[in-house]
Symmetry: C2
Subunit: 234 residues, 2 copies
DNA sequence: CCATCATTCTATCGTTTCATAGAATAATGG
DNA sequence: CCATTATTCTATGAAACGATAGAATGATGG
């Protein structure tokens, strides 16, 4: 029973292999897809919404060719699909649960890896320097919105915002923040969010706005987590 | 800022790398740990309960030396910890959530990989041959136990059973199944379970018991999933 | 202290992964 | 049909991974 597979090596190894081990090997293929920082960056971008290769390459800081290769690998692992739209190939996540998978991976890593704690600490160091800027939790945010006490600020690029965002959120991409301050109300607390817990955009936005005298905090999650939790999006 | 790391290559690459990418790279380390079938087999065994290296090596079908290396890798990824007990090193999962992580990985793979479907189909082919032997769901099982209509059979090796098992379960390791039939009631339906959805032990047990005329089905999950769901264990 | 047992460490070899550059393919608009 | 644009494919070299065998370490029990 020689099963045709992606390459000769595996074909050889899989001969006479228990169903069990074959299943685990196939699962491992999915694990391997998560085993590279650049691919995780691509997945994080895809969690914001579908996108063509060039966009993905740019946000992940890769050459187009290299990004394409990583995307093929994600495709073989069943994590993304692609469809053609004119000259462009549009990639998207196959499954809403992939966001949960990455979230769980993150939580486990944060709990059990010292290195992780160090890096997260570093990411939050600037916040602390400005005086205990705790991130806003989901419940807090929802309560604040309910009472009309907070304004939501989405600092992601415009294309990610328009692919989906939190209800009522105002979009000011970080690079043009200072040029569009008139969009922000001065009488409410501002809560900034971006791509997820590790996305630096909202950290940066909070720092810059505080320097300008705004009352502003960071939402501890991002758009993908909000959406994956089944909460309403626009 | 040259951070000391596991090897020279990474140290070099990480210079001037964004916090962002460093975090994703560290996460990727956890992903990579899940990217090998043998390591997944080790994790599956560890989900049954802590064990020394030799036991782990045997159940995963590895040499002791090789198993040790894989375990080091899992340790570096923060997925397992080890402690010495006399001459032996006892390994265990660091976190209950790792079972959920593997479950989610499995669900996503099953939905999105054709190869996965094929292999699962193969695993279930024998059941179907004997006439639509649907696996028992968790709810069904709980209802059946409640009404006292089913007897639970744990076909895992004795050491895994004694590390924890479903309440009221009778343990008959598969290799000695025929020698211990007197432990099984003949007036109830028997539900067999083992290590998890892909574990072949309960499949095999069901086939052999049906040949002997027992009314018997398979539980669709295993001990780790039951425990991870917060249900009572003995 | 020595012999034993369990495990880890080290060196090695073959295979795989990753990034790069450049060729090939596919759709579009003249 | 040709030039352009977007993407994928192919070949290459450097680094990492995985399995093996044998040496080294660490705890135990005489």
């Amino acid at each position: 029973m020689r099963v045709k597979w992606h390459d000769g090596y595996r074909t050889f190894k899989r001969v006479n292999m228990s169903d069990q081990q074959q299943l685990l090997d196939t699962l491992a293929q999915v694990g391997r897809a998560l085993g590279n920082g650049h691919r995780l960056a691509l997945l994080e971008r895809l969690a914001q919404g579908e996108a063509p290769v060039e966009t993905l390459a740019t946000t992940a800081g890769l050459t187009v060719g290299n990004a394409s290769q990583h995307l093929q690998q994600l495709r073989r692992a069943g994590l993304v699909t692609a469809s053609r739209a004119g000259k462009q190939m549009i990639y998207r996540l196959t499954d809403e649960r992939i966001v949960s998978l990455m979230g769980l991976l993150r939580e486990i890593a944060e709990t059990n890896l010292a290195e992780m704690e160090r890096l997260v600490g570093q990411l939050f160091a600037d916040d602390d320097a400005h005086g205990a800027l705790e991130a806003v939790t989901r419940d807090e945010l929802m309560a604040g919105l309910e009472r009309g006490e907070v304004a939501l600020l989405d600092v992601r690029p415009e294309d990610e915002y328009s692919a989906g965002h939190l209800p009522e959120a105002i979009n000011i991409p970080l690079p043009v923040l200072e040029q569009m301050l008139e969009r922000l109300p001065r009488d409410k607390e501002i809560v900034a969010y971006c791509r997820g817990p590790y996305c630096a955009l909202s950290h940066e936005a909070v720092q810059r706005l505080r320097q300008l005298g705004y009352r502003v905090r960071r939402f501890e999650e991002g758009y993908p987590e909000w959406k994956a939790a089944g909460l309403p999006v626009a």
